[in-house]
């Protein structure tokens, strides 16, 4: 069971959280302009890397906030977690 640091609440057990999948999947601005294939790519396809993975977690049993976690999908080591607002800075902890 993972130990995940919520940027607001600190280290908590995985059971307090809900997994939100790969981070950084933006909803297309104009879906109608997309082909079926392009839309499906947004809907269904994820990178599923071996190694470093940025993913969304929600502190469902706590502050109910979404945040990002950088986790290694092989070792499960969590490199850092940070608020969504900080996702473009390297200052997360």
């Amino acid at each position: 069971m993972f130990l995940i640091q919520c940027p607001w609440c600190g280290n908590r057990a995985e059971t307090e959280y809900r997994y939100g999948g790969e981070a950084g999947i933006s909803r297309p601005k104009d879906p109608d302009a997309l082909s079926d294939a392009e839309w499906s790519d947004y809907l269904f396809y994820r990178s599923n890397p071996r190694g470093a993975h940025k993913e969304l977690w929600n502190h469902a049993q706590g502050c109910r906030r979404w945040f990002e976690v950088e986790r290694d999908t092989v070792s499960y080591k969590i490199a850092r977690s940070y608020k969504l607002a900080d996702r473009n800075s390297e200052s997360g902890s």
Partner: protein, 999 residues
Amino acid sequence: MQLDRLKTGGRIDRTRPLNFRFNGKTYSGFAGDTLASALLANDVALVSRSFKLHRPRGIVGAGAEEPNAIVQVGTGASTLPNMRATQVELYDGLEARSTKGWPNLRFDLAALNDRFSKVFGAGFYYKTFMRPKAFWKYYERFIRASAGFGIAPTEPDPDSYEHRNAHCDVLVAGGGPAGLMAALVAARSGARVIIADEQNEFGGSLLSGSESIDGKPAAEWVNAVIAELRDRGNVTVLTRSTVFGYYDHNFIAVAEHCSDHKGERAADGVRERLWRVRADQVVLAQGAFERPLVFCNNDRPGVMTASAVSTYINRYGVCPGKRAVVFTNNDSAYRTALDLNNAGIPVVVVDCRKSGAGSLGATADAAGITVLRGHIVSDVIGRHRVSGIRIARWDGDTQSTFDSTIRIDCDLLAMSGGWSPAVHLHSQSGGTNAWDETRHCFVPAESAQANVSAGACNGHWSLKACLQDGIDAGAEVAARCGLRTMPVELPVTTEGTDNPMQALWRVPASKDPDRCPKQFIDYQNDTSVADVRLAAREGYRNVEHVKRYTALGFGTDQGKLGNINGMAILAECLGKTIPEVGTTTFRPVYTPVTFGLGAGENVGELFDPIRKTAIHERHQAAGSPFEVVGQWHRPWYFPQGGEDLHAAVARECLATRNSVGMMDASTLGKIDARGPDVVEFLERIYTHDVGRMKVGRCAYGIMLREDGMLMDDGVMARLGEHQYYLTTTTGGAANVLNWLETWLQTEWPELKVYLTSLTDSFSTIAVAGPKSRDVLQNAGCSIDLGKENFSFMSVQQAVLAGFPVQLFRVSFSGELAFEINIDSAYASQMWQILMESGKEFDITPYGTETMHVLRAEKGFVIVGQDTDGSVTPVDLGMNWLLSKNKDFLGKRSLSRQDCVRDDRKQLVGLLSVDGSTVVPEGTQLIEDPGAPKPVPMCGHVTSSYFSATLGHPIAMALVSAGHRRKDETIYAYLADNLVVPVTIVSPVFYDAKGARQNV
């Protein structure tokens, strides 16, 4: 009579005799015995029949590794299957029996399997029982009956189990010399320590030997260390506590057996406690397992590991034989020979090494023990009990055997094939192991998590090395916790010098390995050398595949005894090295755990939270049975005078259609959404034009997932320019709130919208039927309820019977109806007032069942019943709800290729052609009952009821291309091959124009 009990010695309490029963016979032992030691004291050599061949088997080990003495302990509801007799502490009145061997151990009918064992080779079950496929159901019964281990109790477990969370700086797994040292160093350095050991007392291997520490018996040193640890405020000391699982991020699971040593049931308190520990650092000090040697008939009762024999002598004061042979390829077994000799048992040592042992060899010689160096045991004589062995000369340098016919009479054969560190937890945590060429074992290499292995489980065999390794590990983890390490002195021990061990994975036999008597690798699974060779011959190369083909390493012991021997022998067959073959994956659990432990307190009423509405007690008083929806307990129907479900529902439906009914709709999800950007936000969520709604208006709204499938529905109301009141389905309330929050936080943080769940704050009472307006008027309402002032699909604040309420003119029944939202504190009172006010109209409370029938008559869907996550609003005929003026979640998906297929399943109504059959929900629909099987299905029934209002059954269904197939007849395929013709109709069965609700 405890014939094999030694006159003195052992850690048992001879003043406390205990009676117990094994396979129906009464025996006696002493406090401090395990079931195994007590059985051995009573000269019970035969304890089980083997898994596949049903060969007689005896006790082999003294701990978690025991493969044969697998017993059913206890009776009735508290019985436990698959217990290792070596780990069952004796208590007075203990009942145990073999889980194998039918009808009795000595005359096991299935032992014929052994006589035909050529037929029962590796993969036998796979090869024999796969064909013909249809016969599997007969085979399965036979296999289960002949192979099953224990039996599960059939009644509920009467005992209590507990889960406890704990956090610590250092968790030490194992309380032998290394673990104790590590705990002591960490504790003195100020770390918060938890030390857990699976046994009833600390000391590990020290309990089994006769060593001294600091000039005193080792047990005294153990007691002193434990006393200090207990005295410290920063140490939790857990006995009878098995660290059985090492999970991610140093999450450790420990099974504490609180009462199993006292009796069958936990007389007071908890039977077992699951510790869920998050440790900053972990010290793994679980010791090592002694390996058997693999020779012909090495499974005969009376063949044991040498360390087990020493344990029985030193710890339990039992000698499991009267004439012993020790067969070894390393020095440690000489201790057992000395223990036997000290106990007055004649003993011969057979050592495969020409050089024999180091200083222990000299001690044995001095004690007058016969040591046959450069010899092996080639066969064992005796079927139900060892009666002798044959030995041969062996040259380890040339690997050549010299036949000899020397027979030695004995009834006990203690064997040692070297030691395997218990790398289980290290491996579970993701750590790697490396093969050590001199010690001939896998030792922990890289750690994947914050842990350190110490002592024998780190590949150290001598007591001094284990103590030092423990000190080092304790210092290391204390430093990693940022603590200043307090030095601890290495205790004084006496150390000899050992000669190197000689690898002897398969002991040569007089015939070739496939024709000689069986040489067992894994006792519990009856896996022999011949089986592994067969697997290799048949092309199996991967150790994981060989495991599954031969069953090597399955069962309660999970290969603790046999795996390394098996892998070495496989390596030999494949011409590979042992590290090239590698080990199978180590997974939790280390030893079996009970279901009770896993469940903990979460059983019965505590299994799942129960949610009750504010009006629950009134429904209960009215005699309503409850239906569980999500976690809510909702009134199902309100029977009167012995009515059954159907009678009550028919009455409730008619009363509502003809006069007035009332239901508790409080479980509907309610969300207050407000903020300057709330309109923009809801436009993106809902499919209809939210912004066009005037303040005070209600609308039926649906939301889709991004893949276009219907996710939830409900009425939403615009309470203000920037405030909406959203309702959701009962089951979807939490999901919808999460869904909305997710989009606000992750995708649209620029939108200023605030969401508040009001599900529990407000209760909802629905009053429906032509007389509903009169009921509210009777109760005293502050607003004009007439159509002109308060039209269909609008909302108003009002004072009803003196209480402030929010009144919705919405209808889920198709009748004139009002939904009253009221502070939950007053809901129960309001229910009572409305019952009074409606008396003159015979107001009828109704439950979920009537609600379902009324809405089905109107063709209203229930999300999750008529939909299943693969249904679009177009499939449901809800095109009118889809705005063309804006984008919304899921909209783009509705034009995906798959969503515009013309054969999609679409919502339709169904009428039974016979006018009387209520087709069960879930029934499959077919085009042509005469079609060859398998008959293709064209849809399924989602809702089906008898409509008292209409006087005939009605059903809703999802049917392929259903929208354009009106009036066609298809067939419902019922159980027992019954085929019912049904006609496709509109799903709106009643008042298609909607006139009744709009009055």
